[in-house]
């Protein structure tokens, strides 16, 4: 499954400045693993020491917050848009 991942500004040092990159994977967890293969270091910014999503990271698959879905097990259908967004905004 090929998906399009929107990269927040603070992670663009890992993607050569690109705001969007392509990645492969049937689930969000697989997509992040694939990102790590091509952009070394990015997974450690998004995941904590236990391999879970950091608490100040929001990830959306298409328009759905994965915390309302299955977290890292959330399916990422072919052509899906994945957005990684800092959670510390708003209020």
């Amino acid at each position: 499954m090929s998906v399009n991942v929107r990269i927040p500004t603070i992670l663009r040092t890992y993607t050569g400045g690109q705001a969007e990159v392509a990645a492969e994977g049937a689930t969000l967890g697989e997509v992040i693993a694939d990102l790590e293969k091509n952009h070394t270091g990015i997974a450690a910014r998004v995941l904590d020491d236990q391999g879970k999503l950091r608490r100040f990271v929001n990830v959306y698959v298409n328009d759905d917050d994965v915390r309302f879905e299955q977290g890292l097990e959330t399916a990422t259908p072919d052509g899906a848009g994945v957005s990684i967004i800092p959670a510390v905004a708003g209020g």
Binding site: P8, L11, A19, P86, G91
Partner: protein
């Protein structure tokens, strides 16, 4: 015109280390402690944690600092030595918010079973756009000037949109603000009247917030100062002024108990930060205080986590009349839990009916017409007193963060004319209203 000159001059001094934001010395990650130069950034590049302003505070002579504050203007700039703003901030065009009334609420105290003289309402409806948001926007405006932005923006549940629109108008900035499309009419009008652009987003606040977070990373948002996104570390500091004012108005004393509404949780965390700073500076006695958070049942992710003993906050889909608190995914929720537990406080919620009852109780008892968020804090205070969690013999300060005129719909159905009569004494007598 001088106003526009100040507001639109690009910040020549925006290079790292040369920004003049008074005692602010840098940004620090609240999660991992990584330090960053002052700049329009809000999330830690290491762990995504929230960045907050670090200071070189004026330690050493509390009496001199107290005198300086007391001789300052009757607005938040009396606390400029403790805020991320240049020393001459009071001379720049802004709304000069703050120094709102701390009302000794003896009538309400009697209704709630609190000892006379012990209950106070910090009534922030008295700010220029009638909510506490003027405090935080004033800080963000100074940061926007320092970093050379000329457009002010935000995601808003309503009050913030009005505060940004007004501040931008005064300072000569362009504004473009984003709100959920279905807000109360009063808040829409108050946001639009200042002449900036107001954009309704088809979704709830969390959708608006997500949109703005994506816009900030896109060339479309380049050069924009989003007060609660890329300027959020500075913006949040404005809520510290509530802590400063409450203590100064109590005669430089800490309250024993505070009841604070929770939307993102930023205000509650910054009030706690402000209280701790006053203790560190020697301006108040170092003694325990309890912080209580207040939510509406229809959007209660933090109180749900508190009651369940969790230290993470599971997002909710909001459904409440308290729209200014309707943030289902609160950025500072985990810190609110930490503070409530550290201070021995609690986080509680009330349903919409209780919110309406509390708005009317406060109005009837004290002549203060609060917006729904104020109904939430008063309603939660009542609940906590009844539960024995708030000690009625100790000093308690309850926040009202906005004006009831913005949320008329909440009470309109049950707040109507007592009678409609002909203009005659007979009719008045017949209606049974005499005496």
């Amino acid at each position: 015109m001088a106003v526009q000159t100040v507001a639109t001059t690009p910040a020549a001094a925006s290079a790292p280390g040369t920004v003049d934001l008074g005692p602010a010395s840098g940004l620090s990650c609240r999660e991992c402690g990584t330090r960053f130069d002052l700049g329009p950034i809000f999330a830690c590049a290491e762990c995504f944690g929230p960045l907050e302003v670090a200071y070189d505070l004026p330690l050493g002579d509390p009496e001199a600092l107290r005198r300086k504050i007391e001789s300052g203007p009757a607005n938040i700039w009396r606390y400029a030595p403790l805020l991320p703003v240049p020393a001459d901030v009071a001379d720049k065009p802004n709304l000069n918010p703050g120094w709102t009334k701390l009302v000794q609420a003896d009538n309400l105290a009697r209704e709630l079973g609190v000892e006379p003289g012990k209950l106070f309402i910090k009534d922030d409806s008295g700010n220029p756009t009638h909510s506490f948001k003027d405090r935080v926007v004033a800080q963000a405006l100074e940061a926007a000037r320092a970093f050379g932005f000329t457009t002010l923006s935000c995601s808003s549940t309503g009050n913030l949109a009005g505060a940004v629109g007004a501040a931008a108008a005064r300072a000569g900035f362009r504004s473009c603000v984003f709100i959920p499309h279905d807000l109360e009419q009063g808040k829409v009008v108050m946001a639009a009247v200042y002449g900036g652009e107001l954009v309704g987003i088809e979704g709830n606040y969390d959708d608006v917030n997500r949109f703005c977070s994506e816009l900030i990373g896109d060339p479309l948002g380049e050069g924009w100062g989003f007060v609660n996104v890329n300027l959020r570390p500075y913006y949040g500091e404005g809520s510290k002024t509530l802590a400063y004012e409450i203590c100064e108005q109590l005669g430089w004393r800490l309250p024993d108990q505070l009841v604070i509404p929770i939307a993102s949780g930023s205000q509650l965390t910054k009030i706690d930060k402000g209280l701790k700073e006053l203790i560190a500076l020697g301006l108040v006695e170092d003694k325990p205080y309890k912080i209580f958070g207040a939510q509406a049942e229809g959007c209660s992710p933090v109180s749900t986590a508190f009651k369940a003993g969790h230290d993470v906050v599971r997002p909710q889909k909001p459904d409440t009349i308290a729209k200014s608190l309707a943030i289902g995914n609160p950025a500072d929720g985990p810190y609110v839990l930490d503070i409530a537990r550290r201070t021995g406080g609690a986080v509680e919620d009330v349903n919409d009916e209780q919110v309406v009852d509390a708005i009317k109780l406060l109005a009837r008892a004290e002549g203060i017409f609060a917006e729904t968020a104020g109904g939430v804090t008063v309603g939660v205070t009542k609940k906590l007193v009844e539960a024995g969690l708030i000690d009625p013999s100790l000093t308690t300060v309850v926040l009202n963060t906005g004006d009831g005129l913005k949320t008329l719909d909440a009470v309109a159905a049950t707040s109507q004319a007592t009678a409609t009569i002909a203009p005659s004494l007979d009719a008045f007598r017949s209606a049974g209203l005499a005496g």
